[in-house]
Symmetry: C2
Subunit: 281 residues, 2 copies
């Protein structure tokens, strides 16, 4: 595995790989890799000749009161994980390499942002869209891999690729879960022992709602009630949101049809957890 | 020469060309081709294995009071010119093909726009940046060709490519001129006979200013005075602007150094003419 730190080197490399007829799979991350990232790398490894992983904690997607400075970083550990997962090239640029002074263009995400977690993170997805535009131009991937855990991010990337005609295939990977169904997350360590036993209720309640849909329920409000009632009955968490939207458009629906997302966010004493299921009705 | 009307066909073609190791030169236009465009096609023909010309009158770069509907179009004539210049592929999509409903992302040009002609055309360069982003993703060119006549457009494209790391080389081509120095333009036909004899003064006064720079003049205000005085003395045109900026940043300069642009726009009775010289001091 080769670590590449400059845009120029990365671009020269991928242009040569493309001339050689190699397919390129790309996993963009902010590092501090966990099993979710590993499932992306594994899928990319299966589907492409070459796998590129990027590690870049992107300042432009953090708000002024968010944790850019304290965001966890451990490059040496990440490097070992990437190596083990069969990554060929690790793109690891500095902030100075990625952002020059006085940019003259900017990208705004004007849809799919004012809902779910995006409602409270103004500008977050503008930063995501900007860094991905840059990374796609630097890595020139055939396929780019994202986890469905961040379903809103996947929806935004879907819009970015479609609206700007990027010649990149978006591959969205199912959320990796513990045996009891809890979505894996680095935040799970903040759960108390009691909360940890309650936390699988998020996934279970989403599954119950899907079962209701399979039985013919099409009213989004009743589905939200099922999910909310379950979480309130069986956990001590405070509900942030329970939503049913069309997907990837993230528009409210009056009747559940087509592709929809059931999404939930809750606050335990110290851990904020999110989960979702995307289904085709 | 093959005419291609869908994004899908164009993308499939260029991906195959790239796998075959072919270099791609791209000339994006709004059609109604003239000698300026021909010089771009000729240069692209010299420098690349494959030349792609696009013809697309882009609605998003026209203001509400501008002439999108009446903008001149003559596809059959353009097709003959492209054929004669050795173009391999003519990308000619419809507005519906290029712009789907409800886009979720947008590009804004936040620098280099509030000066020169851009000062009066709010949103124009946002439209230019958006359509070029899309076309670059559709055509995947190694090199893209633009005329220096639209120096501000070249500056904006320079920023777009640099800020978003497009793997595209910008090639800016010198303005094509009549024998007496007048920049070729489809608008020159609107000049009266008397105005036509005066019009070369624009270029001559820019040349005189450059001569002064070569003699050691570094004060931008004095250079502007020379240009303005010439135009006022020898033409009946009304001056819209005479400017000296750093290039491609388009920032005011207090002393003429580095790369600078001398730019002028005037209004004759019916024709608005622009001209510029970009020099390295």
């Amino acid at each position: 595995m080769k670590v590449i730190k400059t845009i120029k080197d990365m671009q020269a490399l991928v242009q040569q790989l493309r001339r050689d007829g190699q397919s390129i799979g790309f996993v963009p991350t902010m590092g501090f890799l966990h099993e979710g990232h590993c499932s992306l790398m594994q899928r990319a490894r299966k589907e492409n000749d070459v796998v590129v992983l990027s590690i870049f904690v992107n300042p432009t997607q953090f708000g002024p009161n968010e944790d850019f400075d304290t965001y966890p970083r451990d490059f040496e550990r990440d490097e070992q994980i990437a190596l083990k997962e069969g990554v060929d090239y690790l793109f690891y640029p500095s902030v100075e390499e990625m952002y020059k002074e006085n940019p003259s263009v900017s990208i705004s995400v004007i849809n799919r942002v004012d809902v779910l977690c995006g409602a409270k993170r103004a500008g977050h997805f503008d930063g995501v869209a900007t860094i991905l535009t840059k990374l796609f131009h630097i890595v020139s991937p055939h396929r780019a891999y994202f986890g469905k855990k961040d379903a809103q991010q996947v929806a935004v990337v879907h819009g970015l690729i479609k609206d700007f005609n990027f010649p990149v295939e978006l591959v969205a990977i199912d959320t990796v879960r513990e045996e009891d169904g809890l979505a894996k997350s680095s935040r799970n360590v903040y759960l108390t022992e009691a909360e940890r036993t309650q936390a699988p209720v998020l996934y279970k309640s989403l599954r119950q709602a899907v079962e209701k849909i399979n039985q013919g329920e099409t009213n989004p409000d009743r589905l939200k009630e099922i999910i909310s009632a379950n979480i309130q009955a069986y956990t001590s968490a405070e509900i942030d949101y329970v939503e049913v939207y069309s997907y990837p458009e993230l528009q409210p629906v009056t009747t559940v049809t087509g592709q929809v997302i059931l999404a939930v966010a809750v606050q335990f004493s110290k851990a904020r957890l999110i989960d979702n299921l995307i289904i085709e009705v």
